[in-house]
Symmetry: C2
Subunit: 333 residues, 2 copies
């Protein structure tokens, strides 16, 4: 295992220390229990937005804490759900009295731990709503999931719900936006190489030198099938086809196309995939109205990518374009 780390067991803590130092203008980092909150939290009368999950997917979620997106994020150990005793104080820190929406990727551990934290926060008088993200069309159930997994679409849910909360929407309205985005977003990924969890020290799985895995999860958990390496155009078609078959966009539908790097893929390859995906979507009579290309939901140093397609409506476009100021997404401010 070759990593720029010190103690494998201290990876998350040292990452968050470094993150706090680099973004001291944006966030405050609590190390024990571990969570990240907006420097200016709680923002008076605003609905709070909290997310979290296992580490190793950086910049998800701490990189999305700031104006126009999350109020707090809770990183667990690598690929391991954060515990309720960390989710609870993050939820309380994000509460201004207007209530809190928890955005939870659909993994069994996350669902349980966030649900427990929600109940504890409710017992303290906070109105808490939970929105599950389950955008991965690759598999219906998985190693860590009942139902579909939450992957790249999470970033879009957090951005759009975050913009709604920032403009002063009610708790009901922010919850509705988050659910609406989740209902209209689909994703699927591919791995060219495995990744190694620091405290495990060995790759999570093995791929032959000429083999890729279609439908991979962001923890390296199994996807749909393995096959020989193909061209970027062919792989892109393999990812987009089940996405479109499930999303069923109407002709002329405006889309947000998000090509996400898994952590170890050069940016050039992501743009080659973006090019291929745009061609397929436009040939299908669809309209790529907004785009995002880069490493936004990663699996450590895994090589590969995921495609995420969101069917946009006017309000979603307005919320996407709204100012955001976080470590990993920033515009308009």
């Amino acid at each position: 295992m070759k990593k720029l780390i010190n103690d494998p067991r201290a990876v998350v803590e040292e990452t968050m220390e470094g993150f706090g130092l680099a973004h001291a203008d944006l966030v405050t980092v609590s190390l024990d229990p571990m969570y990240v909150v907006r420097k200016d939290a709680p923002v008076v009368t605003k609905v709070g937005l909290v997310s979290g999950g296992g580490s190793g997917h950086e910049p998800l979620h701490a990189g999305y804490v700031g104006r126009g997106m999350l109020d707090a994020a809770v990183p667990g150990a690598v690929f391991t759900s954060p515990t309720p005793d960390a989710v609870l104080p993050a939820t309380l820190a994000a509460n201004t009295g207007a209530g809190v929406v928890l955005i939870v990727k659909n993994y069994t551990g996350d669902v349980l731990n966030f649900e427990t934290a929600a109940e504890l926060a409710q017992a303290e008088g906070v109105d808490v709503r939970t929105v599950l993200v389950n955008d991965d069309v690759a598999v219906e159930d998985s190693l860590y999931t009942a139902g579909r997994r939450g992957v790249g679409g999470t970033v879009l849910v957090e951005k759009l719900a975050g913009a709604a909360a920032e403009r002063g929407d009610s708790l009901d309205a922010v919850e509705e936006i988050a659910k609406r985005v989740n209902a209209h977003v689909r994703s699927m990924g591919v791995a060219l190489t495995a990744c190694t969890v620091p405290h495990a020290g060995v790759p999570s799985f093995e791929l032959e030198e000429d083999e890729i895995e279609i439908g991979i999860g962001i923890h390296g958990e199994p996807g749909r099938h393995r096959l020989k390496l193909e061209s970027a155009d062919a792989i892109t078609a393999r990812l987009l086809s089940p996405i479109l078959a499930d999303l069923l966009p109407t002709p002329g539908q405006r889309l947000l196309l998000f090509v996400n790097g898994m952590g170890g893929t050069p940016q050039s390859e992501l743009y080659i995939v973006f090019r291929a995906a745009t061609q397929i979507l436009e040939d299908a009579g669809l309209q790529v109205e907004r785009s995002l290309v880069g490493n936004y939901v990663t699996a450590l140093e895994m090589q590969g990518c995921s495609l995420t397609v969101l069917a946009l409506d006017d309000e979603m476009i307005e919320l996407w374009d709204a100012p955001v100021h976080t470590a990993a997404l920033r515009w308009g401010v």
Copy 2:
């Protein structure tokens, strides 16, 4: 070789097509000759800023074209200088009559080709100045260089000179800022793994499973020495020590600390290095005033990082904070 590509010989062209599609609001991409210009270029009466070099370092340079940074970028083949017949039209496109500054990383091929293009542009009546970036303290001469190589510091030169040009500084003033930044910036890198040039198909060099290379270049060219993998803290000290010995900052000096990923390194590891570097700098009585952490000058899928330290003055801080709107760096707009 496992890459998300189609034809290895079409990697740069397809990358730039995808880039142009994803950032159609920002840039116009010319494929033959290949260069990228600001959508709104030429901006009336503004000094033009042009850079370029071999591809494979994305987002450098095309990712820095836009308001407050470059007016044009010229990507060559992977790890290969662009030719004068591409640099010339990019230079002409960036010229509004106020002259053009070419920012050139100090590699023999780049220096020659940009110099030829500068002469051709001058023959067409454009006042052209060339600023060489040579911030890498690792080696004095290298495979591809007489003198020090230009690496991470290039991004800072482009940002600060770009902000100076955007606020309306004269050609002399923009040239002076670019040279001043280069005079006060130092970098050094480390590789944990090699990278593979697509049309070569095999790794540029070999590293044992427990071996790293200190002082690596951004094309995988040799650095200072190889050693066994150490802790992130120890590696960070090995990179910072020669930087500080060369930069010789005065006590209390304000610094911009830039931790750059080589392309295949997880963000978490970059923050662990940032944490270590901050501790060393603060223990030395120096002040980390601004920071940048991420993949900004890469070497394809290489795992590793570089550290860049810029000694800031008041004007540099003002120029760093000024609005920028490019594909890879964006704030204030």
